[in-house]
Symmetry: C2
Subunit: 239 residues, 2 copies
DNA sequence: CGTCGCGCATCGTTCAACGATCCGGCATGG
DNA sequence: CCATGCCGGATCGTTGAACGATGCGCGACG
């Protein structure tokens, strides 16, 4: 580390750096446990319907029961887990009705977010949309279909990011996490996610050109199509 | 209740009814505690910035500390409370940035929900919009300005209810709860909420006539206006 | 006057325990 | 053979107490 000639100056610089980069107080054991569990679920290592016994997970993650329960509560609020009284918590198994409801919500939020994207932050937000498209292409290039699925999620998150509202972003994250659970119930991701690579590209270029109305309409069609395909695939399998 | 001639048929009907109407297991002490606290906050008895000490609330509500903490966690997730590490939980004090963000979200969601209201449930959903308008009128008639504020919230909730998505409804409830906190920071509710009675009526009649595009545009204007007024009132007061 | 340290109050986390509830298996009776 | 009822084990919901960690206020000291 370089020692500044003027210590006062150094202190001021350090203060500025610390104020900019928010203090990483990601502590709170419960939060870390929740993060770990959430990751296990979205990665597909914990499949829908699996029961998460308190006792077994307590000593597996080396935390107390109360701490674990606090993490569970958070994930239940995120709809990732469901709690059945005196029976335990389970990984959510989204039903057809849930998929329908999620897509009704997405059909409201996503096109509107694209249509009324705040002009100010467009530079960065638009590039995030493009980045997601490229990420999907790259993953498809190396036949990493799980990666394509991830990129797809990033794409839709970037779309609502155009609205520039933190709260909308968080709501979208919840919806996307729920979609991941649904995908895990379906077969391989390839058949489903691959066709959307080009549609993502089309939407991205429309957004880049500022043709937001067109882009919004395309997204709406996109979502309607995806919903019917998912529901077909879901009712084709076991209920 | 009518006794069916065929008892087997009756049993089948009863089974169907029970499967539809989910069993009301609203127990769980933590949930009840959370409900009680939430009510205290939205009613304005617990004002923004107030600190909620664990010890004092434990014996006040006759529950254990762990149970109370579980309720706290839920309310923190709802943004009604904020938790500062090793300092305690406080009633959220929304800043100008929060109001801005909330309204960016509302300007996306509410007009879109009105514009793309699902036609199926319209009969009931539309009447809920009208009911909220009448509720506001009645409250204004007896000079109950807090009641007018409530009716206003019901009105906007009914608007997103037109979309027919449970998840969207819940998101809207969170946003409205946050708005309540903001209102409590502002002065009396009368000056702010009274002018919107007629605009609510206008929107309701547009919706009833099926002129959804017009209604959505009106709602968008409505929200933009409300935001500027709130932010003005908020920055006029103390930060 | 400003800074440093100390004690107190509170929070975060853990542990042990008791009653309540659910699940599975067994026995009894038709 | 199948249905009904009962019982034990396992798990959850909730409580109470405890220990270390952290933040805050106050006094002492330079």
């Amino acid at each position: 580390m370089t020692v500044a000639a003027d210590p006062d100056q150094a202190a001021r610089a350090a203060l500025e750096a610390l104020s900019t980069a928010r203090v990483a107080q990601t502590s709170s054991t419960a939060e870390r446990v929740a993060d770990a569990l959430r990751e296990q679920v979205v990665e597909g290592r914990l499949l829908p319907g699996v029961r998460l016994g308190e006792q077994s997970f307590c000593d597996a993650m080396r935390v107390s029961r109360n701490t674990l329960r606090e993490a569970f509560s958070q994930l239940v609020a995120e709809r990732i887990l469901v709690r059945e009284a005196h029976r335990g918590v389970f990984v959510t198994t989204p039903g057809v009705a849930d998929v329908h409801d999620v897509y009704r919500s997405r059909r409201i939020v996503e096109p509107a977010a694209v249509r009324h994207g705040e002009n100010a932050r467009d530079e960065a937000a638009v590039s995030r949309v493009r980045d997601a498209v490229e990420e999907g292409r790259a993953a498809a290039g190396r036949e990493d279909w799980a990666g394509v699925a991830d990129a797809n999620q990033h794409f839709h998150r970037a779309l609502v990011g155009l609205a520039g509202s933190t709260r909308l972003d968080q709501q979208m994250d919840l919806l996307l996490a729920e979609m991941r659970l649904t995908f895990h119930r379906m077969g391989t991701h390839r058949d489903f996610h691959e066709p959307y690579l080009e549609r993502n590209d089309a939407v991205a270029t429309l957004v880049e050109r500022g043709e937001l109305e067109e882009a919004a309409r395309e997204v709406a069609d996109y979502l309607a199509d995806a919903e019917t395909r998912i529901i077909a695939s879901l009712s084709g399998a076991r209920t």
